[in-house]
């Protein structure tokens, strides 16, 4: 049993609400109408395309194609993280790519092998949606972590340098910024884990129930995905901060300003 299909015309009906949104946004002079239209259009086109190529990915289900697809997803995520954090892409792409790849790949394969226990570890049906959820969430928290770290450091560079002058190592002087950025980055997921089921019914669970799964199965998958997201976010933000620090400072322990866009 699958979810009841949606007719294209019925789907189009939902776009009618854009009219009052655009009207209100115009009245309030939010200067957002172009962005609203552009984002809505991109979302619709991108998801339609995903629908098309997922159909073929699922049909061929080749390990190398699925793996390559995931690498592309991670590359786009890394690019978006750096662009949104206003950091130089050419210098930090490698560290951020690795920081997302390592935890995502580890957690993803662990879930497939030991939790869901599927025979074919690279099965597109499991690998791609789970990876997408892990990645989307890691992307958000890496943006929070990295921008918090580098903007905090830029604002209080004198304090950082003073700590170095007092005798601290680079890592000792960076510790307060590092701690504050990790806390800021993982606080949203911790809050979300603490209220899930009471305040919100998560998307994956809703999707599975609509798709015909019984609630207990949907809940088990939701627990799997929440833990997966949490672990991935935690390790990914720690790694991206640590690996970017190697690139971010010169031999005099001074922040490389050219990294900040």
């Amino acid at each position: 049993m699958g979810a009841h299909d949606i007719e294209p015309v019925s789907l189009a009906l939902l776009f009618l609400f854009l009219i009052p949104v655009l009207w209100v946004s115009g009245r309030f002079r939010l200067a957002l109408n172009r962005t609203i239209l552009w984002s809505t259009l991109r979302m619709t086109l991108q998801l339609s395309l995903v629908g098309l190529y997922l159909k073929y990915l699922f049909k061929f289900n080749l390990a190398w194609v699925n793996g390559l697809y995931i690498l592309i997803m991670i590359a786009v995520a890394s690019y978006t993280v750096l662009k949104s954090s206003r950091l130089k892409i050419s210098k930090l792409f490698g560290p951020v790519f690795l920081s997302i790849l390592l935890p995502v790949a580890t957690i993803l394969l662990f879930i497939n092998a030991f939790v869901v226990r599927i025979d074919y570890l690279f099965d597109a049906k499991y690998m791609i949606p789970i990876c997408g959820m892990l990645l989307g969430n890691s992307m958000r928290n890496n943006i929070i972590g990295l921008s918090n770290f580098y903007s905090g450091l830029k604002e209080s560079e004198k304090t950082y340098q003073y700590t170095i002058a007092l005798g601290a190592t680079r890592m000792q002087a960076l510790a307060p910024y590092f701690q504050a950025s990790i806390v800021a980055a993982i606080n949203p997921i911790l809050a979300s884990m603490a209220t899930i089921g009471i305040v919100s019914l998560p998307g994956m669970m809703t999707g599975q129930i609509l798709g015909g799964s019984i609630p207990m199965v949907a809940i088990k998958y939701q627990i799997v995905i929440m833990l997966g997201i949490f672990y991935t976010q935690f390790f990914s933000v720690c790694l991206s901060l640590l690996l970017s620090i190697r690139q971010g400072f010169d031999k005099f322990d001074v922040l490389r300003k050219e990294l900040l866009v």
Binding site: K158, T159, Q161, Y162, I164, A165, G167, K251, F252, V254
Partner: protein
């Protein structure tokens, strides 16, 4: 002991100074005077390796200050910045942290010595429990001087060290600094320094 050798400094495409040379001997006390914004503080930051010069070289004990030597050089310098940029945390925690850094281990002050210096600087015990951010400019400055005197490094770089102190305390600080066997570089607009004996004055034009 410290030598600035024909150094040039540019910042944001603008030349701040060029062809500056200066030699400071061991135990010398030197006041650098000149108009605001001419780059006096930069001299300290260059020696500390936080500001990079466009040309020239800086030597500490005849060794060039560069990426390889900077950490060894820094352990000999105490920098009292104008705003005393300690990180924000309770004063006690910041002091403990400073003495936990590798170059400062083994320098944990004897309580009697610390009390003596705190008394001289008019600092009560209650200040130790306060947050750094809540201290007044004068309190921060006195705390900065306390750390300077406790760490007792060979070279002191003091940027406006008496700007927030009252007259009595300024006198005490000047006397203490002038009596130490340290090498001291001072940037200050405070005339009280000029009255001190044995102070070499470098006028920056």
């Amino acid at each position: 002991m410290i030598r600035y050798d024909d150094i040039h400094l540019d910042y944001a495409g603008k030349n701040i100074f060029s062809g500056f040379s200066l030699e400071v001997s061991e135990n010398e006390k030197l006041l650098i005077s000149g108009p605001s914004g001419c780059g006096k503080t930069s001299l300290f930051k260059i020696l500390l390796g936080f500001t990079r010069i466009s040309s020239g070289r800086v030597l500490y004990n005849d060794r060039e200050v560069n990426a390889r030597t900077i950490r060894a050089v820094r352990r000999n310098l105490f920098y009292l910045s104008q705003d005393i940029d300690f990180r924000n945390a309770p004063v006690n925690a910041v002091l403990d942290e400073v003495f936990s850094y590798e170059p400062n281990r083994g320098l944990v002050p004897m309580p009697a010595h610390r009390e003596h210096l705190m008394k001289m600087l008019d600092l009560g015990d209650d200040i130790l429990r306060q947050d750094m951010q809540k201290l007044s400019g004068g309190e921060r400055q006195r705390l900065g001087l306390l750390v300077c005197f406790l760490l007792n490094r060979p070279v002191w770089l003091l940027d406006e060290p008496t700007s927030s102190l009252d007259k009595k305390l300024r006198r005490k600080v000047v006397d203490y600094v002038m009596a130490t066997g340290k090498t001291v570089l001072i940037v200050s607009h405070d005339d009280i320094w000029r009255k001190a004996d044995n102070l070499k004055i470098v006028r920056w034009s």
